[in-house]
Symmetry: C2
Subunit: 644 residues, 2 copies
């Protein structure tokens, strides 16, 4: 008869606090709570509780139109900053809109239209302070290639816009899966790619690749070396230098903040005057040229819902919608991280949807929060979505009266503005910081960066997200098990790896599992627990006194368990029984305890072998070891029972 039998016939001293099993909850009530916790963690209706009816209405309106929340607190100082930022991004929006519209095979002016209506809507409904609304290069390129396959570019290109908003539903889930590391890598990569694209303007090239990857861009540039324009490159270099110096000064001395803020606008004015007076447009400096005047014509009647190309339009709408939303939310999040505020994914999705529906009826094409424009907005010191209103008004004035003034704006100046904004956003130090804190996050970051630079923005994002999810699964499949030891002169037990001065308790092995026990790790954990026990037995197989008699599992780190997990614990229990070792559980959580109880495992282990703390479990085991060694079990037990 082994030791286990002796132990099983004894009772443990019940002088310890009992472990509580929570009362079972009705199934549907717990289901309701779980669902609410899962989908509405911030309890958005909480603020409506116990409020009078008019207040409820006001709060509801504030939820849908965040402008109502911040407008009352808006100050003159904020407006000054937003005015400068708004004018700056407006000066960017014009050439950017034109060039992206060209990328999408649309009439150039529709790029300008897209910078008028959507920003106004976003300003009222969006929750980001820094986002500047406009068209993006990737979505423009995709539009051209997807619609171009089947439809002539002149035919109803506004149709698919209307459909883009349906895609916002599907894109929502991406938001949770963008990690800090992904965003750092993605931003660096996007900044690199956008900067490289500006080489077209700076070198004064007429033809350029539509791909964004490094290899294509380099090939495109070096294949037309004879077309490089030194006049353009010199002008670009000078303006870039000016912009960088302005930013450097602003950073060094807080009083000079205005230098950086007005630099882009100054560059545009100086550049335009320079070209106007020197007629440099005839000497290799490209300028924006003639723009049509007048506001957005209505296009609601042009939407071709009965066209045979509707399926193509729907597909294009969904895919570009997902890409645009993903970029917009990634950009919005990145900048909110800098300024330490929080943007609401739900509100953003609503804002993007409405903004694109309205856009599709007013001759705009798909808009979101483009990275470059938002970066300029942020660097120009914007304070709220008012900068979008200023930009929209500036674009409106431009459309109405000022298009001739931009005739002579050199494209190279706009390229310089974009490059200088980008250079500030490749964060070497943030990437190194990731390496210091978490090697895996660094890997994710580098994957996002090189994916974006060498493949494309989508591929970079997708690879980084997949890698991040892989890490989660890896964590779940291979959780850590820790051996605990006693911290001297206390009843505290902690990992012997972390606290090397802890003492082993002879005859007792204390293990802590650091993850929920699910089917993905139950096989692994069985192997690992048995390996710890084997190793422990190898160590101390000399005398009977120090022979391993108890294994205590610290369940404090086990948040949940499924039926594969309870089966695994049952298997471990019966293996230990066969070897004459007793399984003891310490500090199980409510959920886990409920399931162990339902699985009858609590009865099999014996409820008296469940303890509130590891300290109490060790005390009880030590009592039993003394007991069986001194062969006075009965009198001991009686004494202990008397104590209770």
């Amino acid at each position: 008869m082994g030791n286990a039998d002796i132990i099983d016939q004894q009772e443990t001293p019940r002088c310890f606090a009992a472990v509580a099993i929570p009362a079972p909850q009705p199934f549907f009530e717990s289901l309701k709570n779980d669902l609410k916790e899962t989908f509405l963690p911030d309890d958005p209706l909480r603020q409506f509780k116990n409020q009078p009816q008019p207040r409820k209405l006001a709060l509801g309106l504030q939820y849908v139109f965040p402008i109502l929340e911040w407008a009352p607190r808006y100050s003159l100082n904020f407006f000054k900053a937003d005015l400068i930022a708004g004018i700056t991004i407006a000066s960017l929006a014009i050439p950017q809109g034109i060039s992206y519209a060209k990328l999408a095979n649309l009439p150039p002016i529709s790029g300008l239209y897209s910078s008028f209506v959507p920003p106004l809507i976003y300003a009222v409904m969006g929750s980001s302070r820094d986002l500047a609304v406009g068209t993006i290069a990737v979505a423009s390129l995709m539009t051209a290639s997807m619609l171009g396959k089947e439809v002539n570019a002149t035919e109803n290109p506004t149709l698919y816009l209307h459909l883009a908003f349906t895609a916002t539903f599907f894109a929502g889930f991406i938001v949770d899966y963008l990690s800090h590391a992904t965003i750092v890598g993605f931003m660096g990569g996007a900044a690199t790619v956008v900067s490289l694209q500006q080489l077209k303007g700076i070198l004064g090239l007429k033809h350029f690749t539509q791909s964004t990857d490094l290899v294509s861009v380099m090939r495109s540039i070096f294949s037309q070396m004879q077309q490089w324009r030194w006049e353009s490159a010199v002008l670009g270099g000078i303006f870039l230098f000016y912009l960088l110096v302005a930013r450097y000064c602003s950073k060094k001395r807080a009083k000079l903040f205005w230098m950086s803020a007005v630099a882009p606008l100054m560059s545009v004015i100086i550049g335009s005057l320079l070209v106007y007076f020197t007629h440099a447009e005839k000497h290799g400096i490209q300028v924006i040229g003639k723009l049509k005047e007048g506001l957005n014509p209505l296009s609601a009647m042009d939407l071709a819902f009965r066209s045979e190309y509707l399926p193509t339009a729907i597909k294009t709408g969904i895919i570009t919608g997902v890409v645009a939303l993903a970029e917009g939310i990634a950009v919005g999040r990145s900048f909110s991280m800098f300024s330490n505020y929080h943007i609401d994914g739900n509100k953003e999705m609503i804002a993007y949807g409405i903004m694109n529906i309205a856009g599709s009826c007013t001759s705009c094409y798909i808009t979101t929060g483009p990275f470059s424009r938002t970066a300029v907005n942020f660097n120009a010191g914007c304070k709220s979505a008012v900068s979008n209103i200023v930009m929209a008004l500036a674009v409106m004035l431009t459309l109405l009266f000022l298009t001739p003034l931009f005739h002579y704006t050199p494209i190279v100046v706009l390229s310089s503005i974009i490059v200088s904004a980008m250079l500030g956003l490749i964060e070497y130090s943030a990437a190194l910081h990731l390496w210091d804190i978490d090697k895996f996050d660094f890997l994710v970051c580098m994957t996002a960066y090189f994916g974006v630079v060498f493949c494309s923005i989508e591929i970079g994002l997708i690879l980084a997200v997949l890698l991040s999810v892989l890490r989660l699964l890896l964590f779940m499949t291979r959780p850590r098990t820790l051996v605990l030891g006693n911290i001297p002169d206390s009843k505290i037990y902690r990992s012997i790896d972390q606290y090397p001065n802890t003492d082993n308790v002879s005859g007792i092995l204390i293990l802590k599992i650091d993850a929920p026990i699910y089917f993905v790790n139950s096989s692994y954990l069985r192997e690992r627990i048995l390996r710890w026990i084997n190793e422990e037995e190898d160590k101390q197989n000399s005398s009977d006194k120090s022979r391993l008699k108890y294994v205590i599992l610290d369940m404090g780190g086990i948040a949940d368990i499924d039926t594969s997990g309870t089966s695994m614990l049952e298997e471990v229990k019966s293996t230990l029984d066969r070897r004459g070792i007793k399984l003891v559980m310490a500090n199980p959580g409510g959920e886990v305890l409920k399931k162990l109880n339902n699985a009858k495992l609590m009865a099999k282990v014996g409820q008296e072998w469940f303890f509130l703390t590891v300290g109490e479990a060790v005390e009880a085991c030590n009592l039993m070891i003394h007991n069986s060694v001194s062969h006075q079990s009965e009198s001991w037990i009686n004494n202990v029972i008397d104590l209770v």
Copy 2:
């Protein structure tokens, strides 16, 4: 000046045990350890350590050929059981092999060949005791449909077999993702499907659907009601009754175990004699009929590596290989669960690979561990892989001499044997048990069951696996946060939900996070933590004395953190600072502490605000509250410092 400022200027009493930050490990060493822990958790080379050379060789051989491990312990009693089981499954293997080969559009005899060579190899190399090797219906059907599209069925159908083994590599990862619940549902579903298929034999039908789903099978049966054969149905009913009674008796009285074991063989003999003497084959009872004599011809020379259909063969090989391996390992695992032993996924994959390579050279087609045959083997009381050897030898003898004897075996008897084995494997009680323990596992189980019954075996498995993985992701994205309270008369702090008799500590909120903090949950946790704090402040905003001044985070359940997580904690810290609340950390693990330290968060919170236990953290906070309330901070601090 808020309270936070006062608190920040004070120092905490350092009379508590320090929290240890583990020393940094060299990067490549920790990488090596992580990789080893991930891919070789059971440390298979451990047994080789410190062993003399010959012993190492012996252990190595045992690893590849498990037969060397168990053969020396093999006893005569085991052999008796295996002999009966082997003969029983041999009597099944013959009609099963023939019908499945027909499903695959292969010559009927190749089904018999496949029950001769592969089982011999599996017996030597496999690690399951219960698995009976043979062909499976699903893979047979898929072979026919995939190869049939491009290749004439008579043309080199053995080729793709050779390629199946390459698929085993890719299939390996599936193994970890089959949960207990999935297996219960999958087995029940497969048993239902296989039983339904037997209606063909029992009703004496000649034509039958190739689909396995309930709807197709029912349509197939009721569309040919006029072909139902009552003679066959009556005979089937009688044998099924006999088999079920035999099993019932064996279960009731242990001494009658042999009744169930010999029943299938007896049924085959009685059925064959009955048909032979009554010439029932002329009255609607289908029999196996004439079989070609002679052993497997070699087919190694027939493998058509230079054929133009090689890509088709490779594709078929990979897909059927994955399906076969998944079914085989799922079946092996299920039965090892019953008998409470462990099968080694690596060994199984090696065995399946070698067995199919050898099979492809000896006129066999793809083999694995079919569910029906394994179930019969298990029910017949097999003890080891020797039953496979017996079956192989029996099939060999059959191929050589006995094919005429099986001429008169009625197919309805074989159907009855299969159905009676299946009925024992639909585990209502296990499914109900799942409902008791874990509702989500029950859902997974039902998904697997209905997926298999109403769609197909693959779809059922895939749906169940996807649902299980979704649960993991859901756990990660929405971890629980618990509020802790003090257990009276102790320094122990536990969840107030689980232990309702705990006391709140005035002015202090203690939160426990029950999962690693990763990018998927960092947004959620920020929202949730701030909501707890808001709710706590709403509760106790009356007097300054009970005002919330400290938030203690119990980090004991946080196994890991990434950079999104450290940023989140930083944001929480600065939000709390703004509100005049101090953030305190208790019991952080080694990994987490390292990362918090690298992220400079430890310095920002202040190392003196990290405690080994929640109890110590509360003590320190209480000391500080007393302090600031009694306005004697300086003298108090001095007193405390003197104590250190």
